[in-house]
Structures are given as structure tokens and as C-alpha cells.
């Protein structure tokens, strides 16, 4: 299968990456090449195999419910693009 222009535009949109009309052809071609490589998997029978999400079959460690983090707003907001009254500013959010 092969991605269409619309597919590429949809993926770019979902990824929140601007892809211009001029770029879309080249990007689509590269993505299709990679998907072609990935398609090799479909030739293998994996019925009954349990998917492996992690190298180690271990369980999640849980921490005690305790407050351990200090307020580090000042140092953290020093690297923020736009801050006012302790808030991160972004273009208007419309609900």
C-alpha cells in the first residue's frame, strides 16, 4: 500500500508538523519507502506469539505517596519562551 497526498497531510497534521505543498511529494516518497521496508513483517506468521513491550518481564515498582518535590518554578521558567505571572503563555486556546 502507498500513502496518498491526503494521507501524508493527515499524518503531518496529527504529528503537528507543518509540511508545505511543495514538500509533500518528497516526504510522501520517503515515508512510502520506509513503509515498504516495514511491510516485510507481514510475510511472517506470528499467530499465538505474545507481543513483547519490554526487554525484561518485570512489574512496575511503586513509590510511597509523599511530597518530595520542591517548588522550582523560577529555574524552570527561566528557559520558557513566554511567561507572565507564573503562567506559560500560548496563543489563545479555543474550547
Amino acid at each position: 500500500m502507498s500513502l496518498t497526498h491526503e494521507d501524508v497531510a493527515r499524518i503531518a497534521r496529527l504529528s503537528r508538523i507543518a509540511v508545505t505543498d511543495a514538500e509533500i511529494e518528497a516526504v510522501g516518497k520517503q515515508l512510502n519507502n520506509i513503509l515498504g521496508l516495514i511491510e516485510q513483517m507481514q510475510a511472517v506468521n506470528t499467530d499465538g506469539i505474545e507481543p513483547m513491550a519490554h526487554p525484561q518481564d518485570v512489574s512496575l515498582r511503586l513509590r510511597e505517596d509523599a511530597v518530595t518535590e520542591p517548588d522550582r518554578r523560577e529555574v524552570c521558567q527561566a528557559v520558557a519562551p513566554q511567561v507572565e505571572k507564573g503562567l506559560f503563555l500560548v496563543p489563545k486556546v479555543i474550547e
Partner: protein, 475 residues
């Protein structure tokens, strides 16, 4: 056409842990913006989530209370979408393997009990807050709330009216506060309801298309929003329109619902297991331990109150609407042996006064022990209802016992026959006109005479005895 309403609720229950679900940042409400957003909530490059044990315990507690299955292996997944109050660009939630599945919750609508099935309850992190007041046309982001632990409790579409939906939401609210896993504060967003609403012609098997009303933070708004939405959907269909699946917001000012403008690609969340977290495994021992720590549940306590104290099912349901109230009632009923009287007082005078003062039963200035003293004096005839109310008001204002107030204010009911006879004779002598009327067959005249006697006794005469003696003397 007759329409049937179908409602399912998704409730976001904030768990009352002291720290966040994936970091040691505080969850306290109302701090200065972003002072409780740690490196993890800020989603700095390289930081990783570390799970809070208390969240698992509280989820199991709710699961057991809902008589649900606890998945002893459950898995966190990433739900991907971009939003400024979601710093990682994904929410850590649970998808294929939630911690709790297949529960049920009984509700009472009118006199009828109905069981609502709970599909699942899963653990997830709350988002931050977007503040829309004007920052030069921009929005401010506060991530203090981000990472607060939530249980999302999803019901089956089992409710058939706004009343049932509200009853379910209230029952769940009671349960989570009863279990001590949520503070239940709806104004602060600790308990938020999304309602999936659809309508279909009566008798039709398949559901209509649903619309989801987001973020209802009071029972009143929940009811208003569903009612409006039902009417809107029926009107739309009857006008020849079709319902499109949508997410809507309720505007309390206009009382209407409206479509959300964001989230246009929200339906492709690209869930996958979070590789930064391993599966949560819960041992039999852990479940057994939590089971052994479970309090008696509202449903069980309700049945027991009917059985043990002889109160009506309706009263028992009211009395078990919160753990504090139920415990208060049980203390009074046990101390006095007067279940019905205790129920009447709690549902009447006590509830009215608390309501007037804007207080919860937990903040009631009269502890159960002192109310028991009052009820004992009503039961043994020492106090008339009227005097009892006077004593109740005095109890509210002071720390004295009922007996001490009765003694101090001389409020003991007079049941001494000779004393009452004397007052009755004086009343007859002073009101010949009333006596005449009564003898002429005007029953009401007797009340006027009784009133005179009560007045003369400063309200302390036993009213039943006054009536009886009056009738004797006038016979």
C-alpha cells in the same frame, strides 16, 4: 413519537493523595501557578514517571466496593493529543487493561432500586488548566493540577432519565467519599462528570447517535444539561435533522449545550502501552489486605438500618448518603433505641438547620451524644415537640446537655394531673363563651380552651393530657 433516553456517564474522580500520580509534587489545591509543577509535570526532556502506590490501593478499594473485577495485571497506555495543558503531548492513562472492570452500583429513583453497570475504572493523570482571561489575547497555562491522580469511572449506557443519571452520579459521589479516596469537592473539580446522551424511538433496539457533554461539575448542571440536550436532540430529529456524534459543553448561564470547537482530530488518540512504565501487578495478598480494611458500604448499611432500627427504606437511603451522616445516625439510634425518632430529627430539624447554616453533618455543632440526650427526653415524654425544638436551638448555641438546658430553662413538660386540672378549671371559668360554643357542638372551641391552658402553663403542659382533662370537665 415517544422517545427513550439513553445515558452513560464517565466520571473523573480525583484521588485524595498528597502527591501526584507520577511524581512527588504536591496535589494541594489553590497554590500559586506552576509552583506544584515538578520536572515531571513540566515534561522536561529526559524525565520519567514513577507511579504512586496509594493510587493503586485506592483504585482497588473502589473496585471492591463496586463488586468489580480487579485486573491483577493492568497496563498504562499513552493517549496522544496536543493541547497546551497536556505537557507531554500525551496523557498517561489505561486502555486495553484497566485496573477495574465489570462493576455495578445500585441507585434509588423514587421507590425503585436499579442497578447500573460500571464498565471500567482506570487510573490516569489529570491535565493542567488553561486560564482564558486576557493576557494580551493569549492563554495562560498553569500545570499545578497536571499529574493529579484520577480514576475515570465509566458506566454502561444504562440510565434512562436525567433523574437516574443524577442518582447514579450522587451514589458514586457518596461511594468515593465514603471510601475516603476522594474529597468529593465538586467546586474544586474533584468530581467531574461527562454525560453521553442519545435518544431513540421507544422499542428500537439500537442506540441513537450520542453526544458527549463534557465537564459537568455539579449535580444541578448535570440534570439541566441532560434535560436540555434530550430536548435538543428530540427537536432536531423531529425537525428532520440528524444527530452527529459530537462533544459539547454546557453553558450554565444560558442553560444550553454547544459544540466544542477544538479537538477536531481527537478521535485518533494512537493509544499504545507506555514504554516508560511496566505492567502493574497486584497480588492476592494486596487485594485481601484492602478487602479487610473496607468499611461497611452504603448499600449494606442501608439494609441494616431498615432491619436493625426499623426506619423506612427511603429514610435509610437518605441516612446513608454520606458516611458522616450514617455514623451520626447510628450513634444516636443506638444510644436512644429510637431509630425512627432519630431518623425524623436528622431528616427534619437537623437537616434544616445545617442547610440554613450551609454546614455539613461533619461540622454539626451538636455531637451525636448531645442529640441523643434530647431525643431520649422526647421519647420519655419529658419534652413536647415544641419544647424539644426550643431545647434543640439551645443545644446548637451551647455546649450544655439537653438535661442541663431543660433544668436551666425549666422546660420540663408538666404532666401533674392536679396542676393541669387547676389550669383547666381557670380557663373554663375565664372563657364562658368558648364553653358555650363547645357545648353547642363546635369542636374547634375546645382548641381555643386548650390554647389558653398551654399559654397559662408557658407551653409546658402535656398537650394530650390537657385535651383529655378539658373533655372530662366539660362532659
Amino acid at each position: 413519537m415517544k422517545w427513550e433516553v439513553v445515558i452513560g456517564l464517565e466520571v473523573h474522580v480525583q484521588l485524595n493523595t498528597v502527591s501526584k500520580i507520577f511524581s512527588g509534587a504536591s496535589t494541594a489545591f489553590g497554590a500559586e501557578p506552576n509552583t506544584q509543577a515538578s520536572l515531571v509535570e513540566l515534561a522536561l526532556p529526559g524525565v520519567l514517571p514513577v507511579m504512586n502506590k496509594a493510587v493503586v490501593d485506592k483504585a482497588i478499594r473502589l473496585g471492591l466496593a463496586l463488586d468489580a473485577d480487579i485486573n491483577q495485571k493492568n497496563v498504562f497506555a499513552r493517549k496522544n493529543y496536543f493541547y497546551p495543558d497536556l505537557p507531554k503531548g500525551y496523557q498517561i492513562s489505561q486502555m486495553d487493561l484497566p485496573i477495574v472492570e465489570h462493576g455495578k452500583l445500585a441507585i434509588l429513583v423514587g421507590d425503585e432500586e436499579k442497578v447500573i453497570r460500571v464498565t471500567r475504572a482506570h487510573m490516569e493523570e489529570d491535565a493542567g488548566k488553561s486560564l482564558h482571561e486576557d493576557f494580551h489575547g493569549m492563554t495562560g497555562i498553569d500545570l499545578n493540577r497536571a499529574g493529579t491522580p484520577l480514576l475515570e469511572v465509566v458506566s454502561e449506557p444504562d440510565m434512562r432519565s436525567p433523574e437516574e443519571a443524577v442518582a447514579y452520579a450522587k451514589a458514586l459521589h457518596t461511594l468515593v467519599t465514603w471510601l475516603g479516596i476522594c474529597d468529593g469537592n465538586m467546586q474544586e473539580g474533584s468530581f467531574r462528570v461527562d454525560a453521553n446522551v442519545s435518544v431513540r424511538p421507544f422499542g428500537q433496539a439500537e442506540f441513537g447517535t450520542r453526544r458527549e457533554i463534557k465537564n459537568l461539575n455539579s449535580f444541578r448542571f448535570l440534570e439541566q444539561a441532560i434535560k436540555y440536550e434530550i430536548q435538543w436532540q428530540i427537536d432536531t430529529i423531529e425537525d428532520g435533522g440528524k444527530i452527529q456524534q459530537a462533544t459539547v459543553l454546557f453553558d450554565p448561564d444560558s442553560g444550553e449545550t454547544r459544540m466544542m470547537r477544538s479537538k477536531e482530530d481527537a478521535h485518533d488518540y494512537r493509544y499504545f502501552p507506555d514504554p516508560d512504565l511496566l505492567p502493574v501487578r497486584i497480588s492476592d495478598e494486596q487485594i485481601a489486605r484492602i478487602r479487610s480494611e473496607m468499611p461497611e458500604l452504603p448499600g449494606q448499611m442501608k439494609a441494616r438500618f431498615v432491619e436493625q432500627f426499623g426506619v423506612s427504606a427511603y429514610d435509610a437511603a437518605l441516612l446513608t448518603s454520606s458516611l458522616a451522616l450514617a455514623q451520626y445516625f447510628e450513634a444516636v439510634a443506638t444510644a436512644t433505641g429510637q431509630g425512627k425518632l432519630a431518623a425524623n430529627w436528622l431528616g427534619g430539624e437537623v437537616a434544616a438547620r445545617l442547610n440554613r447554616e450551609g454546614l455539613d453533618i461533619a461540622d454539626c455543632p451538636i455531637p451525636a451524644e448531645r442529640l441523643s440526650g434530647l431525643i431520649a427526653r422526647v421519647a420519655d415524654g419529658t419534652l413536647s415537640n415544641k419544647l424539644a425544638k426550643q431545647v434543640f436551638d439551645a443545644l446548637w448555641e451551647s455546649d450544655l446537655s439537653a438535661d442541663a438546658i431543660i433544668e436551666r430553662d425549666g422546660l420540663k413538660q408538666v404532666s401533674d394531673v392536679s396542676a393541669i386540672e387547676k389550669m383547666v378549671e381557670e380557663a373554663i371559668a375565664a372563657n364562658p363563651k368558648a364553653v358555650e360554643e363547645f357545648r353547642a357542638g363546635k369542636e374547634k372551641a375546645l382548641n381555643a380552651l386548650a390554647g389558653q391552658v398551654m399559654k397559662a402553663s408557658k407551653g409546658k403542659a402535656n398537650p394530650a393530657q390537657v385535651q383529655e382533662i378539658l373533655k372530662q370537665k366539660l362532659a
